[in-house]
């Protein structure tokens, strides 16, 4: 079951490669440059664990060594055998209809960072990069961008029913998760939302990268205006964000 995809030239051969996330092992497809792809997952060692329900992924060069590294977020550690059937447990109904259970009540997901060694293989650096310290989220889309304008690529993850995550690149191979401190974890009222998709761009042309996050049905998107130094304010519903208001 494919859940996400990201593109990046991880082997610097001038051809964009693909990483496709799944419930179960994910797959790295190396672009052969002739319209064909080869499964390069095993030599790259980026499949993830069998129970991972991987969702958002993004290539980034977090240590500026010239090779694209890989960030992968997971929605849940998903086990079909222990997950209630639709309509058969708590959080298994939506608007009176039986639906896929969760995410609340199911095991949280996690995030992984793989460092590109430059030889076609990756090293899992989740612990040493401190990416693994973030807990308690159901991740969907992730995006890589220099959100605090310090010249180093940061990460943002839209999370479902849990705080969204902002991993600030500490410029030493580590990251700090500072979503709540910087106004990106919740909406303007401090509520968790059903974060789904995310896009980055400078919508107010002030030279800083802003974020827009879409949410589950019935909720408004967030338009996070970058106030500088990686601090954000949700301006959805204001005059500035009017084009996105429903």
């Amino acid at each position: 079951m494919g859940s996400g995809v990201c593109a990046g030239d991880y082997d610097n051969d001038g051809h964009a490669d693909l990483y496709v996330t799944y419930w179960g092992p994910s797959v790295l497809y190396r672009n052969l440059g002739n319209g064909r792809f080869a499964d390069a997952t095993a030599p790259a060692a980026v499949a993830g664990a069998p129970q991972d329900w991987s969702t958002g992924c993004t290539f980034l060069d977090y240590d500026r060594d010239g090779y694209l590294d890989l960030f992968v977020a997971t929605y849940q550690d998903f086990n079909l055998a222990t997950t209630p059937l639709p309509g058969k447990g708590a959080n298994c109904e939506w608007k009176g209809m039986p639906v896929f259970c969760g995410p609340r009540g199911l095991p949280y997901g996690h995030a992984e960072l793989y460092h590109n060694r430059g030889d076609g293989s990756f090293e899992r650096v989740t612990a040493q990069s401190r990416i693994g310290e973030a807990k308690g989220f159901y991740a969907f889309t992730s995006i890589a961008a220099d959100l605090n304008a310090d010249g180093w690529t940061d990460l943002f993850v839209a999370s479902d029913s849990t705080p969204s995550l902002f991993f600030r690149n500490n410029r030493d191979g580590t990251f700090s998760e500072i979503g709540a401190e910087t106004g990106l974890a919740f909406n303007e009222h401090g509520f968790e939302q059903g974060g789904m998709g995310v896009a980055v761009g400078d919508f107010d042309s002030d030279g800083r990268l802003d974020l827009i996050k879409t949410n589950f049905a019935g909720d408004h998107p967030n338009v996070y205006r970058n106030l500088g130094k990686g601090v954000f304010e949700d301006v959805e519903g204001s005059g500035e964000a009017k084009p996105w208001s429903r």
Partner: protein
């Protein structure tokens, strides 16, 4: 004495409906719900079609927090008297409490169709429809309420609130202003009006409205947090911290003030303190999830 005579004595000694009901009513009135419930249940068993017995038994069970049992009794009562206004109101609220949002909305629609001139029912229906995720229907009921009860601050507020949610900010501001004028002691319009001002970057202008909301209700945490947010934007850090600390004093279990304090510390470059407050906020959030429930951004207090 023969077996038949013994049964007759037992029958004569058994309490009748009236004495059971009256005893149950007496205990209910004295707020002795644990004692009232079994008496009323016996009364209802004797006369299963007695509305008052079912109604009061449901009320006693609701007071005891036995939501599902209360709903069962009230549903039976509703079959006996389908148009009982108070019962319909109670069903709307109790269904919602039990998170049976669709049922709550269905009863609300039914009640409104029977009592179209009842303002309170409109407000209950708006909330029930919001909870059920039917925002269009909620907005339509709010529109009708504002039309029918033009001098009601609540009706004007509700419609203004719903217009804000679909991006009609100009009309929303107008209705919220009217609500503030009609009832200066009603805190919600002041809070939401200020919220719109903050979104538009009119931080200074928002401050007096938030202070009015807080004069009316000092423990209104979302208003105090919004006031602190506006002060943060104005870089009035000390005042912002004061407001957050007051919110923490008034509502120590609420996660939101700690989150904002974390953001203040972060903006001031004190990342260690920011992290501590964030962790505390997340811990409180997990311990009190209902404190942060909202209907389209409208905090439930």
């Amino acid at each position: 004495m023969g077996e038949g005579s013994f049964a007759l004595i037992l029958l004569l000694a058994a309490p009748d409906f009236a004495s059971l009901f009256n005893a149950g009513l007496e205990r209910y009135s004295a707020r002795r719900f644990e004692e009232a419930a079994p008496l009323l249940r016996q009364a209802a068993q004797i006369r299963p079609q007695d509305f008052n017995a079912r109604y009061l038994l449901g009320a006693a069970l609701a007071q005891l927090g036995r939501n599902d049992e209360a709903l069962r009794e009230w549903r039976t009562a509703q079959r006996i008297q389908p148009d009982h206004r108070k019962l319909l109101q109670l069903l709307i609220v109790e269904y919602s409490k039990g998170r049976y949002f669709q049922e709550s909305a269905a009863v609300a629609k039914q009640a409104l169709s029977r009592e179209p001139g009842d303002a309170d029912l409109h407000y209950l229906a708006i909330k029930a429809l919001q909870d059920a995720g039917d925002y269009d229907a909620a907005r339509e009921v709010a529109r009708r309420a504002a039309e029918k009860f033009p001098e009601s601050a609540r009706a004007n507020f509700e419609y203004g609130f719903h217009l804000q949610k679909i991006g009609d900010v100009a009309r929303s501001l107008e209705l919220l202003r009217k609500a503030m004028r009609l009832d200066p002691s009603y805190e919600e319009p002041f809070f939401f009006y200020a919220g719109l001002l903050v979104k538009q970057g009119a931080y200074e202008e928002a401050l007096p409205h938030l202070r009015t909301a807080l004069r009316n209700r000092p423990d209104y945490v979302p208003a105090r947090v919004l006031l602190a947010r506006a002060l943060m934007q104005l870089e009035r850090w000390e005042e912002a911290q004061q407001e957050v600390r007051e919110a923490i004093r008034l509502s120590p279990e609420h996660p939101q003030p700690h989150l904002l304090l974390s953001q203040i510390f972060f903006r001031l470059g004190e990342e260690g303190k920011a992290r501590e407050e964030k962790e505390l906020s997340l811990k409180l959030r997990r311990a009190n999830p209902t404190l942060l429930e909202a209907v389209q951004g409208r905090p439930l207090q």
